[in-house]
Symmetry: C5
Subunit: 358 residues, 5 copies
């Protein structure tokens, strides 16, 4: 959880809007910008270097063709600043892009739309959910995406653009933004299926045996689900806003698609809530199983102790060394005593039977 | 639960609106379409094959008579596509029909209304609730229904259409849609009665004995009820919307009936919530019963141990082999000791009486 | 609880609005209709038979005098149908009257107002709350009431009409409806006082002793309170609607009285919630008392066992039959051993004192 | 709690608005009315008797000076009726004044404003919160206050009026009403401080010892806080309404003061919620402490039993009377056995050390 | 917690708006006022004494330059009164400034805006959160800040004003107020990081060992987080109001910054809720670990007791002193008995193995 709480404060001495405040930075030279430009007829894909001038960047902005500019690592503050200048982005928005701890949100500015969402991936070996902020800037003809680190889930969209499959090449930048967001949210389902598998495995394990390891796993899963929930709930508002709100930049035709995206978001929330309920129920099961087990242990102890303690007492009596103990002299004393013990033992067993302990 | 979490993601590489993405498909040739056409005077029932042309389908659409077209299995993507073309259905709606994991919802398009709800049936032998998505497309004179698999609860409506009982033959397609939805929701009550019977049986069992089997049953029922709850809550909004919202396609006269349907939905929700409260209360009962039982076990152990341990100690004393132990020589030593033991035992019993443990 | 879950579905094969679907019926001939007609000057009370014509019933409707028509048993479907025809009641409303499982609600139709509420009475011997639906139809000059079974709480209103006490004879049918509803809701307080008495008795009992019987009583009371709560919450909306909503049939002067009724409803809800909190708190008390008691039992066991087990061990040592055990030969061996045992016992007692177990 | 549930129903046979229904009454002759009349220049304070005529009362109403009329005991139904007639109060309002079980609320009538709130005082010896309804009628120049029983918290306001301190003498009747309400709500803080002291004392006690007495105190405090909460929440709406709502009778200048009063109300709610959280947390602490204690008790028992039971068994073996037991003949048998016992005991102690039980 | 409940009531006998009511006061002479005046070109910093006249103070108010006036200790009622007079502040606002127990809130008056928020700092040695109220009065060109005690988190803002870094020197008083609030809320993150560190440390400790000390720490942290939560939630409304509400005094350009501040506030709330969930989960862990541990203790006891009690009983039998006990005479009696004991012990061990207790 630790990594999820750090670096929230801007840091002493930095003014609002200064990009160098919270993150360690890396030089822009190491990280080219990925640019895809397309229209229904043709498509160009290239990588541009930090030496590109602001005017060259502005050409993409003013171009009729749809352009998707992707930065793989927001620690390249040089790039963020250059893009910010080229596209006239407000410094606070740039700060939100760089300091990647934002709640999912959208903000409409004069001539662009800012959207920040989380890209979730499931880190299989370590069994936790990895969250990375992806920021979108949507202008009339461009979509700018900023990721926290290289590696994304957008490859199928790139493929669809390249092959011209579906309607993506014929539609505007708003449809491109939709396609990318759709891919992100579709990936949420994959993460949830994996978490769901873990939950179901554990659920079956709990029916046969309970131990500390299961409890730890349960708490771990509960935390992952709570973390997921926190990422997903604000998404509802963010996407709902894109769909309902009259954002100038989202066309009527694309708006239907955002409606579909909103439905998916609601479904994600439903699924997360379902998982949460399931894990809560499992914690209840765990506790009542624990109670059952304790009860069983106690019963074994009580049965054994309750049968043998009185018998041992009787043996103790005839183990006393008094000189005058008439029974000791009886020929059948020993066998009478043994029989008495047997009768007491049987009586106890019958009593426990009646109590349904046996 | 497993089957309820799978197949939520669209799958990599498929564009939004493509029907072949998430489901395995079956050829349309295996599955005829059921068509019932009626007006107050006459009724025709037939099955049409996949070879039917789009123009023939459009005749139903443009006909004055009311037509109900039913597809029994949405995996027949061929049919869905053909109907989609004939009735000008938006690709995203077709995708929602085919990928039958939708939340109950309605969507009003230019000239038709899309409604997706769950048909619930209770799988008696396996004791779980079976949910199947039924999608409705409602146009001016047609109702199209798409089911996930053959077998439905609509037979009484078919019967009413055939016999002309009630007002169904005299009213429009909106009343037909209402009748089908009403039948679906009426069936919810049957499912709940069955679940309710299980809950009550278990409730009585819990009063006499508690064991692990009951706990498992309890958790199973709780899950079924939570699952039901998730299906039912969004229905409230969906149906409420049909009743209040000024849907162009639902006439004023039929709107009263949708109001009645809305009342039923609220009642379903109330009943589900009542069952949920009952099951939660039973879990509390279970835990407090477990505590009671443990207490009783402990008391038995404590009473037996507390009475006999001191007595055994006394017997132990006179079992010691010291050469000089004056009491051992006394003639009445044995009987005095026995009496002492009796007095101690009686004292203990009185003490437990006063503590109300006996 | 059983009787509260049954008969919710309309039953297969019945069209919406058909009265004979869900209830067993009784012939109208067995059940006369009670009719009270009054104006400030005079009052007539009579019982009319099923042979009365629809025209005769309509006279009441068109009369200037205020008329209260009461049907004691809605299973007399003949009467419901006849009244429905005479007063032009919508078939769905008639269905709601006959199938007496409605949520409290009101519905404004063109020229009448339909109100369905629950009449609660406390079944003292069996200790549960009995709920009966009372449906009101309020027209300009008539109040029609439909009960589920004979026996009601309206006698004081009849008395007030007969004696002309209060302003009831001078006011319209809306005031009559208010008076009846007021009487119903006033009766809720009586039911709650009785439940409250049970709760308080139990609360005192729990302070002195806890056993399974108390737990069952607690769960029984909790269910009754939850049942009450479910009846009462929708009332808030129903009555609030009558008070705020501009219902054409409720005059401005009477509206103040409905405001007062609304306040009473809120107070009923507050009281029910108070009882619920109290019962929840008692369940907590029960569980913590159980924990306390278990703790006490354990302590007794531990003290006795911990004192005597070491002593018995010492006695066991000197009970061994080794030939060479020097202490056994000592003259004072026995008394030294006894003293040692005493010292150990006292040390244990001091230890428990310090631990505050004694 | 008992006294808080009684007398909620109006009682059979009484019409709405009749004052003699729910309360036992006392004759008005025993209880004079306290009247304070003031303007910036002068102040008169007197007590008037039940013989005062309605016309004399109306003079106060029509006077330009501000008049505060206080009735100390609403069981003086004679006074309530007379005042009601003189000031034209609606019978339902009079009923609300007399039947002092109202939820805090305000009601605006044609020419006066009715406010009902609770005056809370802390009954120190019996440690419970005493609630008394105070009803306000606010007209253009008069404030009428009705208390349930003699004794109030208004003395400082009387003093401010007498001395002319603050702006009270220069402002209207709305400011007088504000001053009285402010005094009432300020007193809530005093009650809460006292409850808070009890809570904190208990909280400290719980850290050192837990027993049944503490549990009872905890539940008692929880109930008092819940009771307080129920009195305080509706106040929010009541006061908020006075502040925001455009009540004709509350001037713009005074409205700021009602805003301040509203802030205090919110603060009262915050404090009550804080206390509630604290008490809930303490119940959790209690239960986990109980668990800790049980664990400790069990550990002591287990350690003692586990060490001595095996040793006693060994002693038992050599206490057997078999004729042929070679060890008994050994010279060192006794010492070897004692050493063996010591080794076993030490082994056990080491085992418990490793388990961190010692 | 104690210090957080005290001094909420205004105190008997004080009129609303009187500053000397709730706090002990200190003379203004001991506490100079810190004044910073700046415009884009120059900056003056000075301290002024209580001898400053009201006219001199009003010069700051009417000046074009931006002035920040800071009072370090609101117990200097002399200063508060003088400033109140110079800037025409409403007496109730002054009371809110002096009685520093306000909920975070803002109030817009005719020509100034009042904002009260909490400055939180983490008292590291005593491990609790220190809260201090900071009140802001924002006029066209001045920001007045009132602190409860010397020492604040505003130093970086002073530094930015002095160095002219960022846009602070070029913007108005609204931007200055924003910068100060931003610094305050940024500090919340630091407090939360520290609390978060404690929570994580404890979380790790709980995995290896649980004892009373951990429980106390857990409850302490829970309280601190609840306290934090209570400070943070009303902030949402307060800041949201500044951002959305059309406050005349906040310019359009600065409004964007308040939007950013609002986002941070939401993030603070998210983080606090996350911590709360985590601590709640840890309490669950604690309780289930406790159950696990108890189970383990019980198992050890049961295993030892169940193995040795029957063996001891057998030894007891052959320790009896009956004259006629044939086994005692057998040559191999002793060894047969020992073998029998061994077999019983092994049987028990196998039984526990099968039960998975070993």
């Amino acid at each position: 959880m630790s990594h999820r709480l750090k670096n929230l404060s801007r840091g002493k001495g930095y003014a609002p809007g200064s990009l160098k405040s919270r993150t360690e930075t890396i030089p822009g030279g190491n990280m080219p910008l990925q640019v895809i430009t397309y229209d229904p007829d043709k498509i160009t894909e290239k990588e541009i270097q930090i030496s590109t001038t602001i005017e060259q960047l502005r050409e993409y902005r003013d171009n009729k063709s749809i352009t998707w500019i992707n930065l793989n690592d927001v620690r390249c503050v040089d790039w963020v600043e250059k893009i910010g200048e080229a596209f006239d982005i407000h410094p606070l928005i740039l700060e939100d892009i760089v300091n990647a701890n934002q709640r999912p949100k959208n903000e409409e500015m004069d001539n662009y739309l800012f959207i920040a969402v989380k890209m979730l991936t499931y880190n299989e070996p370590q069994e936790f959910i990895d969250a990375e902020q992806v920021s979108f800037i949507l202008t009339g003809s461009c979509v700018l995406t900023f990721q926290e680190k290289p590696g994304d889930v957008f490859e199928p969209v790139r493929e669809r653009i390249r092959t011209g499959k579906g309607r993506i090449r014929r539609m505007g930048s708003d449809y491109l933004a939709y396609s990318l967001l759709d891919m992100l949210i579709d990936n949420y389902f994959l993460v949830m299926e994996k978490i769901g598998d873990r939950v179901e495995d554990l659920d079956e394990d709990l029916l046969t045996s309970i131990d500390n390891k299961h409890l730890k796993m349960l708490h771990h899963l509960k935390r992952e689900i709570i973390f997921m929930r926190k990422s997903v709930w604000p998404l509802r508002e963010t996407i709902g806003d894109l769909y309902r709100g009259e954002k100038a930049i989202i066309g009527k035709e694309t708006s239907v698609y955002f409606g579909d995206l909103y439905d998916h978001t609601i479904q994600v929330i439903d699924t997360v809530e379902g998982l949460r309920d399931m894990v809560s129920g499992m914690l209840d099961t765990y506790l009542s199983q624990l109670g059952n087990k304790m009860n069983e242990v106690m019963k074994v102890l009580t049965i054994i102790a309750t049968i043998f303690i009185p018998l041992t007492f009787i043996a103790g009596i005839y183990g006393m060394n008094f000189e005058f103990m008439p029974e000791l002299k009886w020929k059948s004393g020993y066998f009478v005593t043994l029989s008495l013990m047997l009768i007491i033992a049987l009586g106890m067993v019958l009593y426990f039977r009646r109590k349904k302990w046996l």
